[in-house]
């Protein structure tokens, strides 16, 4: 890329100093976590109750951390925007959770889970973090069983396992199609137990709108948050010794995604604006097995667990003219089981990015099925006829009954008698705030866990690994690393009238007033939908330089219009859902631009990031390890402030790119192949 006289690369960003993790100890990889736990300073039990930790988000990563730190005796304040911690979107995860238990004696091990995760992430994750994830995975299952999580069991009373997208061993524990729900209820119950014990204070219907950062330079510390009570509208200040963001991913930047309606980037984006680097924002996972879009009114997309790919076979007609036929009338010879054809050894179980892109390819060829949406058919068949013939309808019902019911309810079609239709949808974001081995961001005292950080999945996440990471971070990693920070960082007094606190409060109040004062012509949703269309079109399954440059222009224009023309009715001092949405969409409008800049600068294809300019002759993703084997950690730069007033909507100046080199000491760097 070219650098012009102003020092800007491509006119969009600046190169900055490299960044590195300094927390992972030296030595063999299998000893690093044990050593780190030993070397991390301890906090005397008597002192813990004097130390407070704020945790934003109550999904697996936040709920588990809040419960565990509460059990340890710290004073925890737990925040969620929903009406109960149990509603966090971890609850919607269906398929399962990986753990290197090797209960099936099929060759699994910590080493193999580590290897599969690094390979699945297309060699763009940090080895030390991934090894630790694999290492603690077995403890998660033990912990959850002890809490009463009702995992599926065999007749002998032992736990059942299944194999899951992209791997060849059965290491996935599950609770029918409701694994996320059951794990979250486990964490939630542990959390409520601590609320009753008085160690955790629970703040529901509260949204974090700013992080309080005190001090300058190396003395900076995250010391609390500004939150809005969504019922009364009151802006509240909460101070603490450390802040943990466990606020989930940012897939809703695409408007249509499998995320919950309220899932948002505000907590992490506000922290980014205060100095926390945002890593690999362009790494987005598009999930292959979602129910296709039915029409213009669509508010969200529904995923069906990819465990369906264990028994369902994916196909489209060989001939375009068959696309509007009843699938049951299409002869076996006229069907193209394209994943089985292209990837004979993995077949329908190839990783998500490959399954998604191939679905897009066959639909782009005009061989898609289902209703015409926009200009062509966006859907492929997922067929259980063979599985029902082989296992019987009862066995299939037993395994997938709730998913089949859900499909029938949404589409009005019966998947037992006619093939399901599926299409890819945005599902998970691998990018997130940059953290070191201790899960600490570039702001000291600000920790980030679960989907909100970038740490473990590289450029692509394997199935059943999100739940694993959320609980690993929450139960086992963060509680061990945060104590080192709490024990060693000097507690300086901070009061509500300190400049850092007053400033953060004022920012929130001004922003709220401004959103309500614009009183323009367009609804928040209309901006969100338009942003989503731009992101899906130009920063979705396939990205190109031309498209991304266009997207950046479009987003900037849309953002400017938002701050000029959005209409948010109602008042600040009451429950106001339009106001909540407006704040979230305002942040998505900035994040979207950074995602496009990140996608533009990474001129390679890796994992969920596919650049049209970087593919092999037969259309496979092509990595460039010599140039891009690094984590892209972006530093926020404020917009040019010409008139000295807060410039809402100008959004952001040119971000600064800090590269963390990825070195592979324990796993050999290879081009991924699932053929």
């Amino acid at each position: 890329m070219t650098e012009n006289s102003s020092g800007l690369v491509h006119g969009l960003y600046r190169d900055g100093a490299p960044i590195a993790d300094h927390k992972a100890p030296a030595g063999p990889i299998e000893q690093k976590w044990t050593r780190r736990k030993f070397e991390a300073a301890l906090v005397n039990p008597a002192n813990r109750r004097k130390m407070s930790v704020i945790i934003v988000g109550t999904g697996l990563a936040g709920g588990a951390a809040a419960a565990t730190l509460g059990e340890a005796g710290y004073h925890v304040k737990s925040f969620c925007f929903q009406d109960s911690p149990r509603r966090a979107h971890s609850i919607a995860a269906q398929g399962g959770i990986n753990a290197a238990k090797n209960y099936k004696e099929d060759g699994d091990s910590v080493q193999r889970l580590f290897y599969d995760t690094v390979k699945g992430g297309d060699y763009r994750s940090r080895e030390t973090n991934v090894y630790r994830l694999a290492e603690v995975s077995a403890n998660i299952i033990d912990q959850c069983v002890a809490q009463g999580v009702p995992f599926a069991r065999e007749y002998g009373g032992l736990l059942d396992n299944r194999s899951f997208g992209g791997v060849q061993v059965s290491r996935t524990f599950y609770a029918r199609g409701q694994t996320g729900q059951q794990l979250l209820i486990g964490a939630y119950q542990a959390l409520e137990r601590q609320v009753a014990a008085g160690t955790v204070e629970q703040f529901t219907r509260h949204e974090m709108l700013e992080v309080i950062v005190d001090g300058e330079g190396s003395e900076r510390r995250a010391r609390g948050i500004i939150a809005r009570d969504l019922v009364t509208g009151e802006i509240e200040t909460h101070l603490a010794d450390a802040v943990v963001l466990a606020s989930g991913g940012y897939g809703n930047v695409f408007f249509l995604s499998t995320n919950a309606m309220g899932s948002n980037v505000t907590a992490t984006w506000r922290a980014h604006r205060k100095g926390a680097h945002f890593a690999n924002p362009c790494y987005t996972q598009i999930h292959p097995t979602c129910i296709p879009v039915a029409g213009e009114h669509q508010s969200k997309l529904t995923l069906m667990s990819e465990s369906l790919r264990n028994d369902g076979r994916i196909w489209v007609p060989k001939k375009r003219e068959d696309c509007d036929k009843d699938p049951r009338d299409i002869a076996e010879d006229d069907r193209d089981y394209y994943l089985e054809r292209i990837y004979p050894s993995f077949g329908n179980l190839v990783p998500r990015d490959i399954a998604s892109r191939q679905a897009k390819n066959v639909c782009d060829e005009g061989r898609g099925v289902g209703p015409v949406v926009g200009d062509f058919r966006r859907g492929v068949y997922l067929d259980f006829a063979d599985a029902i013939a082989r296992l019987g309808e009862d066995a299939v019902r037993n395994k997938y009954g709730n998913l089949f019911d859900m499909y029938a309810r949404i589409t009005g079609e019966d998947p037992y008698t006619t093939p399901m239709r599926i299409y890819p949808a945005v599902h998970y974001t691998m990018g997130g705030l940059w953290v070191d081995y201790d899960l600490q961001s570039t702001i000291p005292g600000l920790f980030v866990t679960g989907e909100a950080n970038f740490s473990d999945h590289g450029a692509n996440r394997l199935g059943a690994s999100a739940l694993m990471q959320g609980l690993a971070d929450g139960y086992f990693v963060l509680p061990n690393t945060i104590r080192d920070y709490l024990a060693t960082s000097p507690a300086t007094p901070l009061t509500e009238d300190s400049p850092a606190v007053v400033g953060a409060r004022r920012e929130v109040e001004e922003r709220t007033e401004r959103l309500l004062a614009i009183n323009g012509e367009r609804s928040v949703d209309s901006f969100h939908r338009e942003l989503g269309n731009i992101m899906w079109e130009y920063c979705g399954m396939e990205r190109s330089e031309e498209g991304l440059l266009k997207a950046i222009d479009l987003i900037r224009g849309l953002r400017a219009e938002f701050w000029r023309n959005v209409r948010v009715l109602g008042a600040a001092d009451t429950l106001n859902q339009s106001l909540e949405k407006a704040g979230r969409v305002a942040d998505f409008l900035e994040l979207g631009e950074l995602m496009c800049i990140d996608a533009l600068h990474r001129r390679e294809s890796c994992g969920g990031h596919f650049r049209a300019e970087s593919q092999t002759e037969d259309g496979e993703a092509l990595r460039h390890d010599d140039e891009f084997a690094y984590v892209a950690a972006w530093e926020f730069t404020p917009p040019h402030d010409t008139d000295g007033e807060t410039t809402f909507g100008a959004g952001m100046g040119a971000p600064v790119l800090h590269k963390e080199d990825l070195t592979y000491e324990f796993i050999e760097l290879k081009q991924r192949s699932y053929k």
Partner: protein, 247 residues
């Protein structure tokens, strides 16, 4: 299709509130009920009227955040969550009444939004197994017979939406409570706290202002997860056993 909606509007806990009539046209049968309300809210916003407040989050029937009383039925005419109810369940020309959950223990916050914090406090009273992080034995140390594991799972499917309370003429939370008692009581890990749990949770349930079970069965009929009424039998049995043990 064209519909007449009568929707409960209430600006806050102190407002008396009332039904307001809205007419909707060109509604697609493939829309979900909440997407239909989204369309209405867009229209209201365009007309300068404040949108209707209602809760929803996952919109795939699992988080339990949504819940509306639709023409007198909790979550509407189908056995599902409000977000999974589709307009194909209605007919052109229908008049649909939309109200919040009605129960003393669920005070109204605004419009269709209620406060279900009482359900969290029932869980705080003992709806858990005390197992601190890191203290767990190997997951295979205690086999669980499949029948017990399956029944525990069935009860654990409860999403805490509160439809059972809204459907009950006595606003009882005993289906919710019985589901948790059954989930944890079926598992060997849940035995040490079994007696104390049921006594404490029943006490909290009553303290919150939920009514007692009157054996109507509307709760189970309204439950989007089909939790059977016999979890209330289990609840009563566990309570009797605990009291016999002198708890």
């Amino acid at each position: 299709m064209n519909l007449t909606l009568k929707i409960w509007r209430q600006t806050g806990p102190d407002d008396t509130g009332g039904l307001v009539t809205y007419r909707m046209s060109d509604i697609s049968p493939d829309m979900s009920f909440l997407e239909m309300l989204d369309v209405l809210n867009e229209k209201l916003n365009a007309n300068g009227e404040e949108p209707i407040a209602f809760d929803s989050d996952c919109r795939e029937g699992i988080c339990g955040m949504c819940g509306l009383m639709i023409s007198g039925h909790a979550h509407g005419p189908e056995r599902t969550t409000t977000c999974q109810l589709h307009m194909r369940s209605f007919k052109n020309g229908d008049t649909i009444t939309v109200e919040p959950w009605r129960a003393e223990a669920f005070p109204i916050v605004r419009d269709l939004v209620v406060d279900r914090g009482g359900l969290d406090r029932i869980i705080q009273a003992g709806g858990y197994i005390s197992a601190n992080t890191g203290s767990a034995p190997d997951a295979h140390a205690t086999p669980v017979p499949k029948d017990n594991a399956d029944r525990a799972f069935m009860a654990a499917e409860c999403i805490g939406c509160g439809a059972c309370v809204a459907a009950c003429p006595n606003a009882s939370g005993m289906l919710f409570l019985g589901a948790k008692i059954t989930h944890l009581g079926e598992l060997p890990q849940g035995q040490p706290e079994r007696d104390a749990r049921v006594v404490s949770m029943v006490g909290q349930h009553d303290h919150e202002g939920f009514g007692g079970c009157t054996n109507v069965g509307a709760c189970s009929q309204a439950c989007p997860k089909g939790i059977p009424q016999d979890v209330i039998s289990q609840l009563n049995k566990d309570l009797r056993t605990a009291l016999k043990h002198g708890r």
